[in-house]
């Protein structure tokens, strides 16, 4: 078991630049990918995939800072622009052209909003990136570890509605031998997990119910064994929802990158 293990040294932009090298891709880790305990696992699995398929990439490491998405949508435009302009200075200094990220919020902000402030990049969400690897027949999953399981996909708002990407994550899931099902509210009708627009960091307003409970109940009702997500915030909300509904024995929550990596035995 352990003898097959290969230690991964994550390439860092500053080091590559010092050697005069420029990687094809910048992997934008994002604050949640770097600090949230659950999503750090997703970051690690995604890096394993990047390594396994010899993708020429690097991360900014400690030079990366928060994208500013939360600040902007919570109304703190000053803070957003400070973050954005600082990040853009670094990205442009390294001549970054292509970015891949696991966070739909950062995907949206870097892709659609950084151009206003001088940051022009080709930005990919990891669902699109994984779909590309599958289309190029690089990823080929024969593992049966999820066969017999049913997977339901929860659309992240900032991947789906915000950027009209509904199919890439589903095509990635379709490459994994397992049953797939859908919630009643899917794709452009998908219900938010409840964490967007800064909600992740504040108490919910008074109401009958928390949004994440409403959404988890809908996922549970499909009878699926796995809720697949593709967003750090959705991940937190769905995990909390599963706990709240005491379904931890029956139901698991994985990011699509984890499902691919686990299927490939990485």
């Amino acid at each position: 078991m352990t003898e097959n293990r290969i230690k991964i040294e994550v390439p860092i932009m500053a080091n590559l630049a010092a050697e005069g090298r420029q990687p094809e891709w910048l992997f934008w880790v994002g604050s949640a990918g770097a600090f949230d305990d659950r999503y750090k696992k997703v970051t690690r699995e995604f890096v394993k995939i990047l390594t396994r398929f010899n993708i020429d990439y690097a991360v900014l490491g400690t030079e990366e800072s928060d994208s500013g998405d939360v600040a902007r949508r919570a109304g703190n435009e000053m803070l957003f622009q400070m973050q954005a302009i600082t990040n853009i200075q670094i990205l442009n200094a390294y001549g970054v052209k292509k970015i891949v990220t696991c966070c739909p919020h950062d995907f949206n902000t870097l892709k659609n909003e950084y151009p206003d402030l001088g940051g022009h990049y080709e930005v990919w969400h990891h669902s699109q990136f994984l779909e590309k690897l599958i289309n190029e027949q690089k990823i080929n999953i024969s593992s049966e570890i999820f066969s017999g399981k049913t997977i339901v996909f929860h659309d992240p708002c900032y991947l789906g509605r915000a950027n009209s990407e509904y199919e890439a994550p589903r095509r990635v899931l379709n490459a994994i031998p397992a049953q797939k099902t859908e919630m009643k509210r899917n794709r452009s009708f998908g219900l938010c997990c409840g964490a967007g627009g800064g909600q992740m960091f504040k108490e919910a307003e008074k109401g009958d119910k928390e949004v994440f409970i409403e959404r988890t109940e809908e996922a549970i009702a499909t009878g699926a064994d796995i809720i697949a997500t593709a967003c750090p915030f959705c991940m937190v909300m769905m995990t909390d929802g599963i706990k709240y509904k005491n379904q931890e024995e029956r139901m698991k929550n994985y990011d699509i990158a984890e499902l691919v990596s686990l299927s490939l035995g990485l």
């Binding site: 600090f35 490491g61 600040a71 402030l117 938010c192 008074k206 949004v211 409403e214």
Partner: protein, 438 residues
């Protein structure tokens, strides 16, 4: 004949005068709003054809969507008929567009069929509003006056369609009685005419004239009632779709005024350069702070509630309702606009859109998920106004909820919304191995 023409011309003149007065007032209100440029006209034409003309978004509710689309397409055809009636009324002639020949037959036939379809659709709509408890027609913002407004608009349309059919029915009988050539083809009305009992020529002509006048005078009245109703939607929704957001739903408008400030902060050399602009107010607190597109959005809202029905906050019992935000913008302009016309844009009545209409609790319940905007059949951008109101609260009043203030401080100090040292940002990469799961 000439008396009829004079009477008609007078009715038309009064209609246009009242309409002109109303529209002038409304367009005056636009002058109080913020200017934003319109880019990408070809793309906008495409969006208008898809969303407004082809009605693509209303079909997200397939059954009611189809009924609405039929009413809309029928309206376009019947509008041509109304223009003909105006020409006829002024010139003292009958069915003047008959010169179009086969095209006229086609137009009249479709208008006749559409009139019947619209009658049925409106009856379904009225039935739903009056007898079924459709959840999206309820909510705190749906006061009795809003419901009366909706029922009034539907009743207007119903009577318009009945009189249009009535006019066609008696026209068909009349031409048969006098043996004159009939202009146009009227499949539904001809069928109804075949069921009618024998009537005298005078009676038939009376009922034709009665329906003709009733119909056209009602069109004139309706046109002047609309701007004061939520059903102003009829005029505003097509242009609204044209000016609506064409960027991806996830895109939030950049605040240029903030960009200037941030660049000054980041570039000390520029700080010495004198700033000529007066200190700008950040965000929106009252109706004159919204952009003209936001206001156009508000005017085209017909209170269908599809936005509110999909709002995660509203579904889970929070105060927020995207429909209410749009209705509030409209109502606030109606309240403050006349004062601003009277006393200039500095006019204050001691109230504001924020606080008096829209509360902080509503604004902070939004998840910015854009489900409302996705759903809106006329491309209203509700989150844009919510965001601009939040911007005012945060940038001008420092009034964010405690949790968000903590997140702001963390982002400022550590570059992440949580309290971690930026030096630990790459710790996830420690002890990372390939083939770990084997």
């Amino acid at each position: 004949m000439i008396i009829k023409q004079i009477f008609f011309a007078l009715a038309l003149l009064i209609t246009l005068l009242i309409f002109g007065y109303t529209m002038r007032r409304i367009f005056y209100y636009f002058r109080f709003t913020k200017k934003v440029p319109l880019h990408n006209i070809p793309r906008r034409i495409m969006v208008t054809l898809q969303v407004a003309i082809a009605q693509t978004k209303i079909f997200r509710h397939p059954v009611m969507g189809l009924l609405h689309a039929l009413v809309f397409w029928g309206f376009l055809v019947i509008l041509l008929g109304s223009i003909e009636m105006v020409v006829d009324g002024l010139a003292g002639v009958e069915r003047s567009f008959r010169v179009l020949g086969p095209v006229y037959d086609f137009l009249m036939a479709s208008g006749d069929i559409f009139a019947a379809i619209i009658t049925i659709a409106i009856l379904v709509f009225l039935f739903r509003r009056l007898f079924l408890k459709v959840k999206r027609f309820y909510g705190t913002e749906m006061k009795p006056v809003s419901k009366a407004d909706a029922n009034m608009a539907l009743s207007f349309i119903l009577i318009l369609m009945i009189t249009l059919l009535g006019m066609n029915v008696f026209y068909v009988i009349h031409t048969q009685q006098i043996g004159a050539g009939q202009a146009g083809v009227y499949p539904v009305s001809a069928w109804i005419a075949s069921l009618m009992p024998e009537l005298s020529e005078q009676t038939v002509w009376f009922w034709h004239e009665f329906n003709w006048w009733f119909h056209i005078l009602l069109v004139f009245a309706f046109a002047n009632v609309l701007p004061y109703s939520k059903h102003f939607h009829v005029f505003m929704s097509v242009p609204n779709v044209f000016v609506s957001r064409i960027s991806p739903l996830g895109y939030a408008e950049n605040m240029e005024s903030i960009t200037k400030e941030v660049k000054l902060m980041l570039d000390p050399a520029a700080a010495i350069a004198p700033s000529d602009a007066a200190p700008a107010k950040f965000g929106v607190s009252d109706v004159e702070d919204v952009s003209w597109v936001n206001y156009m959005n508000a005017l085209s809202c017909t209170e269908c509630g599809r936005c509110t029905a999909v709002c995660p906050a509203n579904i889970t019992g929070k105060l927020l309702s995207p429909r209410k935000i749009m209705m509030d913008v409209r109502a606030r302009m109606k309240e403050k606009g006349p004062g601003m016309i009277r006393e200039g844009s500095n006019y204050s009545d001691g109230k504001s859109l924020l606080y008096n209409y829209i509360t902080e609790e509503e604004l902070w319940a939004c998840t910015m998920c854009n489900a409302c905007a996705q759903e809106c059949p006329v491309n209203i951008n509700q989150p844009a106004i919510i965001l601009d109101l939040r911007r005012y609260l945060v940038l001008e009043k420092s009034a964010a909820p405690a949790g968000l203030n903590t997140a702001f401080t963390n982002i400022e100090n550590n570059g992440a919304p949580w309290q971690f040292s930026p030096q630990d940002r790459l710790n996830w990469a420690n002890e990372l191995y390939l083939n770990d799961h084997l």
